[in-house]
Symmetry: D2
Subunit: 325 residues, 4 copies
Amino acid sequence: MSNYSVILSNVGSCADRFLPTGYDEPVAIPELFRRVSQIPQVKGVELIGSWHVTEHNVQEIKKYLDEYQLQLVSIIPDHFGQAKWKNGSFSSKDKSIRAEAIQHTKEMVDAAVELGGNLLSLWPGQDGYDYLFQADYIQERDWFAEGIQESCRYRSDVKISLEYKIKEPRTHSYLSTAANTLLIIQEVAEANCGVTIDFGHSLNAYETPAETVALLKKYGDKLFHVHMNDNYRHWDDDMIVGSVHLIETLEFFYWLKRTGYQGWKSIDQYPYREDSLAAVREGVNAMESFDKLIERIPDHEIEALIKHGKSPEITSYLRKLLLNV
Amino acid sequence: MSNYSVILSNVGSCADRFLPTGYDEPVAIPELFRRVSQIPQVKGVELIGSWHVTEHNVQEIKKYLDEYQLQLVSIIPDHFGQAKWKNGSFSSKDKSIRAEAIQHTKEMVDAAVELGGNLLSLWPGQDGYDYLFQADYIQERDWFAEGIQESCRYRSDVKISLEYKIKEPRTHSYLSTAANTLLIIQEVAEANCGVTIDFGHSLNAYETPAETVALLKKYGDKLFHVHMNDNYRHWDDDMIVGSVHLIETLEFFYWLKRTGYQGWKSIDQYPYREDSLAAVREGVNAMESFDKLIERIPDHEIEALIKHGKSPEITSYLRKLLLNV
Amino acid sequence: MSNYSVILSNVGSCADRFLPTGYDEPVAIPELFRRVSQIPQVKGVELIGSWHVTEHNVQEIKKYLDEYQLQLVSIIPDHFGQAKWKNGSFSSKDKSIRAEAIQHTKEMVDAAVELGGNLLSLWPGQDGYDYLFQADYIQERDWFAEGIQESCRYRSDVKISLEYKIKEPRTHSYLSTAANTLLIIQEVAEANCGVTIDFGHSLNAYETPAETVALLKKYGDKLFHVHMNDNYRHWDDDMIVGSVHLIETLEFFYWLKRTGYQGWKSIDQYPYREDSLAAVREGVNAMESFDKLIERIPDHEIEALIKHGKSPEITSYLRKLLLNV
Amino acid sequence: MSNYSVILSNVGSCADRFLPTGYDEPVAIPELFRRVSQIPQVKGVELIGSWHVTEHNVQEIKKYLDEYQLQLVSIIPDHFGQAKWKNGSFSSKDKSIRAEAIQHTKEMVDAAVELGGNLLSLWPGQDGYDYLFQADYIQERDWFAEGIQESCRYRSDVKISLEYKIKEPRTHSYLSTAANTLLIIQEVAEANCGVTIDFGHSLNAYETPAETVALLKKYGDKLFHVHMNDNYRHWDDDMIVGSVHLIETLEFFYWLKRTGYQGWKSIDQYPYREDSLAAVREGVNAMESFDKLIERIPDHEIEALIKHGKSPEITSYLRKLLLNV
């Protein structure tokens, strides 16, 4: 079956620009681990650099992973949550910041190895621009790719999976869409450089997430990691898996299976107002249900729908499957 | 149970700006009626003024309605499909065009009565603007309301249901959202003036269609008519009911029931590439399935979800209902 | 000329969900006032309840207003920045929270009066919902209107201006659009209840801001207050005035003048990465430039463009005005 | 200076799905040429295959080009305006249709050469999908690239410039964004395969058009052609150049100059309600004004803005340039 994981902070408290102190009481790291351990299907966690793991607390984190028998699925380096990155990290106009971005990545690679992991899921959230006439689009993208390349070359046995998102916190991100990410990956030309699809980011970019799985398969089998959530298409609402776009999620899970995806399926939800453990638990239950449903449907039935491409046949099939009256 | 109908042209051929001659062979009116009659759950049709019914062919249309035992659900006056309306109908800067818009509406009211109907579903598609600094927003809205008011006063026993849509064919429509329509209805102050929710138009306006049902109930019980389809939220794609936003559709049907909606549920799909009869048939099957599913769910269960407002509880409930693994 | 003001926090530091500690060092209230005082065209400030002004520090705030000769333009009650409001304030399912929302508003009304002001700009940011099947859309909207009504009745000489926004922090806000707000205002039926247009919120709701000025004029002369900024239409980016939608901003300022708007034009920008004082200063300079440009253009010239409604004529005019080559 | 052209049909009449017979009287080809000749800055035309030029009327077209001293800028093959393409052309599940798509392209290559041209601007508007579970995303993209490759190899001295667009007429196009197009171009691996940026398509894909110019420069100098218009970001409204996004257009023209773009700037507007010649004339006047303004601004001034990346500095500069009060 699938490997389910969760980003550790998901079971904690969230903040936003109007309530920066958070919608709930802050939750300490030991408690975050304890909460994750209460979700039976979850076998691994993703940790955020500087938020959860630093070059200095690796041993402490190791203890929690062992105690709760959780694998380190990935480290998400912190290229977005420190004020020094505000004008970019890998693509910063400031040479010393660019060097720090690479250095931090290498530190997180080392930390991952120490913790038994082999994956970084890298989201360069502050790399991009906000205003017109603000960016040197070529130079900054060159710097970005150079930084990623150097990071990838540090240890070829650790995968660096680039997570794209079209905007937020910048009004425009450089690592915007799957196709854009593939261009960068081709430029970087390292086998350990791949892509993280965040289902919600994909929807927000007017991609069809299932198509993105296919695109990444076609262009080099570059899907390394998956983050799951849902939204209303216009924004990265980070809602519970399957709460809005049920059919897109089902198609996504089908194409993950069809393309032989063997990686983790990880929750990336922001449960602002929810009991965060309950929300993540439901997200995991949803992922498991989608996987089971896809297992249950004979492959040849979906292949026939795709082969014919006739929408009345498709909608009839889905209606009977889901509405089931 | 519910009353299902379809806009007659839905079972014909569609065109767009790139293929204005149509994606399929044109279908004559007798054949359109024959096709509709093949959908067992459909008891009525909506006819488009000038496209299907004019002041001159009422008797001929009557024959088809009788032959196929179909009720006239509504006439949709043609305020959008003739070049004379291109700069607006009720809100045109040209006084004679405004008068024609009203006159055409009255003719369609008469035709509806003759055909045994009592509803116009009025979509003023050309009323709005495209460019900035192009419109006198106050004057044109005043004219619009005056024209609607005069039309409503013509026969108080015929309902005039205003169908809103935020854009297309104009870049901005005057009758844009449900709330905007309610303002106009209050201004018109006629009991026979109400609202048509087109599910897709509602999604495209970033409304939650179920909430719009509630809004129209709250502000005067003004929901007169419903058009069903689906889309990807960014545009009026006019796809088969339930093909994308399954949960929003389910919630919409729930609130239609909850608010005691007794009107018709009508298909408004543009099956560009589909076998149009098959696509409409599937849309009707979908509407029926949503109705049945809502009937099957004990009301108190949904009321509890709403009362608590806890998303893990809601998503868990929907997951078990729909994914059912 | 126009009255320019700024929301006090605009010249401070901002945070977001990824960097909740802020993009810059926090700035204390005395320094915020000092900064605002350095923008010569600014004659007033808006203060946020609980962030800047509470029932307990009114005298202290009074001192700053006097020291810097700034008028209190409005108090923005804090119905959004405290965890207790997370599931709604006026529309909360919790009766005691609803009562607190009203109580806080009354306290801010009293504070405003004490500080020589007569306007609250009320943004109920947490009132709405996130998930489908989560909200009782009728009941919660009833509660919302009741709470606003009671707040308005507290002191008829203090205006309560409702600021709409379609989403954020909720995925869907109740006070969503201008038209929606007018429905509520009509329901509340108090003369001191009006509307705040936030230019960016208007764009994000696919409104044309100038049209919204006209709509509010038409339906009861209800425009009480204006917040200025810019964005890319898809989100409330809160960027510097005029930095993207120059023509929409120009048209907005024209219609403000045309409808005789006498209120304040206030900056509501979130300068995440900018020198916040410089960014606000530029926003004010921009507002002043738009006002001057509108003053300079003979009214009859724009009236002619609108009267004819011919886009080649309009674009030609704007091109010569703005590109000026 | 720049080379300005126009798509021939732009000066004619347009249709849409509600008014498929057209908003104005149809205009015959000779008259279309005559109209274009009245725009002094226009030196070339783009012709649409099957609409304007076929394998059979090349001599007739040659006469018009000579008579009006217009260059053939490009042929836009007709892969979108015939019912046979409705389920795709290069990516059709039907092998014979795929062959026809290639065949038609070769015919248009031949026609272009005969008419003295060396560019096809290829917009595969029907290639994509509408429904979920409808497409084999890998197989169809493979077919698409194969078809484009064979077309490019037919004559290496004729450039084939792929015009991307995220949707319409399909709900999702395969040739969706600039990055996606670059992936295909790299796969095709032919020097004569490049990209057409349609300014409005770029905006609609949440690209910053100037950034796309830079991206295409960076990844192989692949910008072959430019279509100009404007919209409200949510749809391909095909409005007059510079009528909404003035600053994005200015930045776009700056980056065209900065990257040494030597190709044509062509009008692609749909003047539904406008005097089409007047609208296109205004579009050309706008392009010329943007070019002149960019020429007038000292390069080092914009380079400084970009180098510093400080938004108050940028907005101040643009304000003085454009508002000029």
